[in-house]
Amino acid sequence: MTDDRDKLIAEAVEKALKGDMDAINGIEDRVTRSKAKAALHKAKKAAKAAELTSADASESDAVENQTETISTNQKIASIIDGEFPGSVVAQEGESEECIYIQSKFWEKVASFLRNNAVLDFDSLQCVTGMDMGEGILEVRYNFHSMKLRHSIEIRISTPIENPHIYSIEQIWRIGDWFEREVYDMFGILFTGHRNLKRMLLPDDWEGFPLRKDYETPQSYHGIAVPKVKEEWE
């Protein structure tokens, strides 16, 4: 099994090095694909560095860099899980790029992130809403610490029928506008938000445009909406 996979990766990387990225993108299995991508990245880096110095040194360098980036999210995930057992949801294959938090723990975890001296996330960089399909909405938070210079990504999912997530607007004040924008586009209700109104769209707009099942209305205040052309006409 592992031999087959290694062979598949090696072939795909060889093709991709010649410029055919589809060889890697076409791999069905997610884990294999990401491994192939990492191998390609490494191969490219190694090839480049080989011209300057010995290939061995650069390879170990690349490996070191990788483990470093992987650890920030995982390290902080284990700290959070230690403080609030059961709050971190294990997700296979994605634990290096983000931390999944159970939504019922979010209120406590959020203030922990802000106030703990080891974490000290004083800056909320971005809040992204996302429609994952199959009745799941997700909110993704990107945090950064100006003092300790590290960043993480936190993801929380909520069902589309009853989307509720605890608001962090009073911990990071920029959360006010970010959460209003997510509410505007996805209809996620942030519990405890003091002014949850539409941000970019008019107050009387119907529906939440960035949900995947959104249908463009026929008209707005009597103005007909022009039809979208599928292709060039």
Partner: protein, 373 residues
């Protein structure tokens, strides 16, 4: 401040008002002439950028990013291109990297010139505006040389740039820099240390560093509050780690750290730093190289998400892209720096006079195209 208690009144500034820098409406509650609350109403320029992006291919997103921050389109192009490249693992030729840095830094100068010139207008100085627009015009002429467009370039593509630099560009760029550097001194004489200007801006609208971070304020506005944070230095993208330049931070030279004058002054200093970067980049620009070599035939990033920040003239410009392996993005979110800068307006303008609010708003340097997207 705030000791007088008269009858309260609600005033509407905008949506069409010259000092709101675009279609922004401010609901201002005033007590006499003292402002007690400001409620910015945005969305007049909303063009559903993020929704559009889900229906076009990755290449077709680039012209949309132009139209977000239309003052600094090159930097928007660059931010998007860098993000997609990292998601796909594309390595860009060195020549392309140099060209990108050159055009982005020129655009940063042009953007700051516009910001400072119109800021002068806001507080009643008309002449510096003309001087700065005269020089900005020359930068736009150079962009016209490079890609044919003066404002919306669609120049930086994923994996490369649309055209190689034309013949004679480097010479023109050097000529401009030689001409431009002494001009900064002229601006300083005209506006920076002008008594009336200093009276209007120093000590006004002080933004403390902790408040700035809490409100997600970035870029020159954050640096004016004394926080040394610049993505070009702290999280280098493209080839910014190769250049030697300083990060100017506010020092409260004529007032308090983080006042309007500091925000103005940091931008003025950044122009000088950009000139420094430009000189190094023009010197190091490789002669040979194909700018189209690394452009992929099909942009189809592997499944996954990425959050990548770059330094636009207004602050941290970030793209959050989620790909599901198809030629169109599954979700694309733009974190715009002006959006977060505007959110702090209410906090720092309370207690000031109505005319000071105009000075504070101008000093934040917002672009409504980017706020409303």
């Amino acid at each position: 401040m705030g000791i007088i208690h008269g009858e309260e009144m609600v005033l509407n500034i905008g949506p069409q008002h010259p000092s709101t820098h675009g279609v922004l409406r401010l609901k201002v509650r005033t007590d006499g002439e003292v402002v007690s609350d400001i409620y910015p109403v945005i969305g007049y320029l909303h063009r559903s950028f993020e929704k559009h992006c889900e229906n076009v291919t990755y290449e077709q997103v680039i012209p949309y990013t132009d139209r977000c921050d239309y003052i600094a389109s090159m930097n928007n192009n660059l931010g998007y291109a860098v993000t997609v490249e990292e998601l796909m693992g594309i390595e860009v030729p060195e020549k392309v990297e140099y060209i990108r840095v050159i055009v982005s830094e020129f655009n940063r100068i042009a953007s700051h010139l516009l910001a400072l010139g119109t800021y002068g207008l806001d507080v009643g100085a008309f002449t510096p505006f003309l001087y700065m627009f005269r020089d900005r015009e020359r930068i736009l002429d150079m962009f016209e040389m490079v890609c044919g467009a003066r404002l919306l370039y669609n120049y930086i593509w994923v994996g490369g740039v649309s055209h190689d630099l034309p013949k004679g560009f480097v010479e023109t760029a050097y000529q401009f820099l030689d001409y431009f550097e002494p001009q900064v001194k002229e601006y300083n004489n005209l506006l920076t240390y002008n008594k009336i200007f200093v009276e209007r801006t120093a000590d006004v609208g002080v933004l403390p560093p902790d408040v700035a971070i809490n409100y997600g304020v970035t870029g020159p506005n954050l640096r004016a509050s004394g926080v040394k944070w610049d993505i070009r230095k702290d999280e280098p993208y493209s080839i910014y780690d190769k250049f030697d330049f300083d990060i100017p931070v506010g020092r409260g030279e004529l007032g308090t750290i983080g006042d309007c004058w500091d925000r103005y002054w940091v931008r003025m200093r950044e122009i000088e730093e950009s000139v420094k970067i430009l000189r190094q980049a023009l010197k190091g620009l490789p002669k040979e190289g194909d700018v189209h070599q690394a452009i992929p035939k099909k942009i189809r990033p592997p499944k996954g998400s990425i959050y990548k920040r770059t330094e636009s003239p207004r602050g941290d410009l970030a793209f959050y892209i989620t790909s599901d392996g198809k030629p169109k993005p599954y979700r694309l979110k733009m974190r715009s720096p002006a959006f977060t800068s505007l959110s702090v307006l209410n906090k720092i303008s309370r207690g000031w006079m109505l005319s000071d609010v105009i000075a504070i708003l101008g000093s934040l340097d917002i672009v409504l195209g980017e706020i409303d997207r």
